[in-house]
Symmetry: C2
Amino acid sequence: MLSLQLISEAAERIQGAIRKTPVDECPILSDLLGVPVWLKLENEQITGSFKARGALFALLKAKDRGDFQVATCSAGNHGKGMAWAARMLGMQVTIFIPNSVDPTKLEGMIRMGADVRTSAFSGYDETEKWALAEATRIGLPFISAFDDELVMAANGGTVAAEVLDQIPDLETLILPVGGGGLSGGASFYIKETRPSCQIVLCQHEESPALKKSIDLGRAVVEMPVIETVAGGLEGGIGRLTFDVLKTRFDSLELLAEPEIKQAMAWVIRHHQMIIEGSAAVVIAACLRKGFRKPKGPTVLVLSGRNVAAATIAQIMHGNPF
Amino acid sequence: MLSLQLISEAAERIQGAIRKTPVDECPILSDLLGVPVWLKLENEQITGSFKARGALFALLKAKDRGDFQVATCSAGNHGKGMAWAARMLGMQVTIFIPNSVDPTKLEGMIRMGADVRTSAFSGYDETEKWALAEATRIGLPFISAFDDELVMAANGGTVAAEVLDQIPDLETLILPVGGGGLSGGASFYIKETRPSCQIVLCQHEESPALKKSIDLGRAVVEMPVIETVAGGLEGGIGRLTFDVLKTRFDSLELLAEPEIKQAMAWVIRHHQMIIEGSAAVVIAACLRKGFRKPKGPTVLVLSGRNVAAATIAQIMHGNPF
């Protein structure tokens, strides 16, 4: 069960190996929204995304149980985190990936010694089904990229705990939502420890699994494949994560592909940092004309930076300065 | 006088406000050079460059002396660091800048409340002469961007101390050299505490003040203006910094403009980070065919990330993937 105790345990065990990433002031969004706005720089996390947190904690717990070989499925960042953590812990990880994976992320996983297996599918959901069947066939325990209490505790829980430590008067936390590992763990931690704080979640409008799940009253775990620079936001939500999330957020923003690309270019222009599409949704939401002004200090979680150079080139070309 | 004691004092006083930036593995350069290669990420420093260190220490010392208003001259990063430190300390800083300054850096200084005055000159050296005359006229104490023991101690000294703490078996440190504040302080610290460690300095081939100074046996404090993406490496070297540097480095690499741009694109491609031209010289040096292989663990200091989006767009366009 996800609990504050599990989040504390995660924080304790990943400490040292994981970076306590800084929060940077964002003067332009602060002016725009009329409240102090900060960026939580998980793009500066080791392996380039928050996923290293959950991967390390899940592998530490697997090792506790005596499992030295595990399988997982990942669109990229979770796989990179798993490859990094497995190398550090002397474990072997087999990573099943969609064939649409960003080449930068694939390169990262292979360099760190992971056994990477590419699926016949470009979407995450179909790849995961195949991965689960393959893992069962080979006889390896399977670690979900998001629908797992350990992953939720370490990914979202520890990020939120750091944010509250860095900005104790936090009133609004803005996060991307894909499978729900980051947003689930973070929303849980925030609503348990600072219930007055608002949670704003940001999703891709063409893959709105959370919105659909809320409308239907049950987790939509599969979604049609889409082409997007925000690969981490493509696909269904988890059953466990939806269960945590459904009562723990205050608003949901659905962002379009061009807005996401513009937001990536905006961060390059104003903060001289590369962030991936899945991270850029939080910036895109704040840049919208109709975005509701937060009532106090606000933190945007920039979840990662793993994006192919060709995508950067295309974005800079398409959003001239 | 520059001393280990002054560097310790600098480290102590700037601690907390300044980030202890991480070192990242660089697997590709490690393969290429046959030794473990690490990147010291001063591009992740607050204000986007190492210059925040020296600016803060210099202002703390000015405040100790009872000076609450100071003047300085900067091509950008030092100015941004001074503006940030002055705001934090409740001091007023007047910054004289060349008219060629990167708009991103200018914007940063103004946003932080500095009094910015643009010179009639595009080069650093002429601007500094004017700045010194203006500061005298107005009656403000002048803080040099590099030719100052406090700045050397905090900029280069504290970076080197952190690197040795992070990579205790360091054998080679590779740094950019412009005015000599970073390289002077770092070389001093390294040669005093770990004399076996090699220092490799990297300069722009069109503005080789250190090389000229070595050839002539005296500091060349003025150089002809050049157009470059590596604005921080343009101009002469300091008298104090040359005095420290001249006996404390092992080799000097002169890099050309296209190599520097390629190195910026390389870092975007392989590390998903933006670094400025002045930082990219260290990568460019390692990517050269003839670069002499270091004999052991090597750290490259990535000094900053403040670069205009238009420059990034141009670089990505010119170095396709």
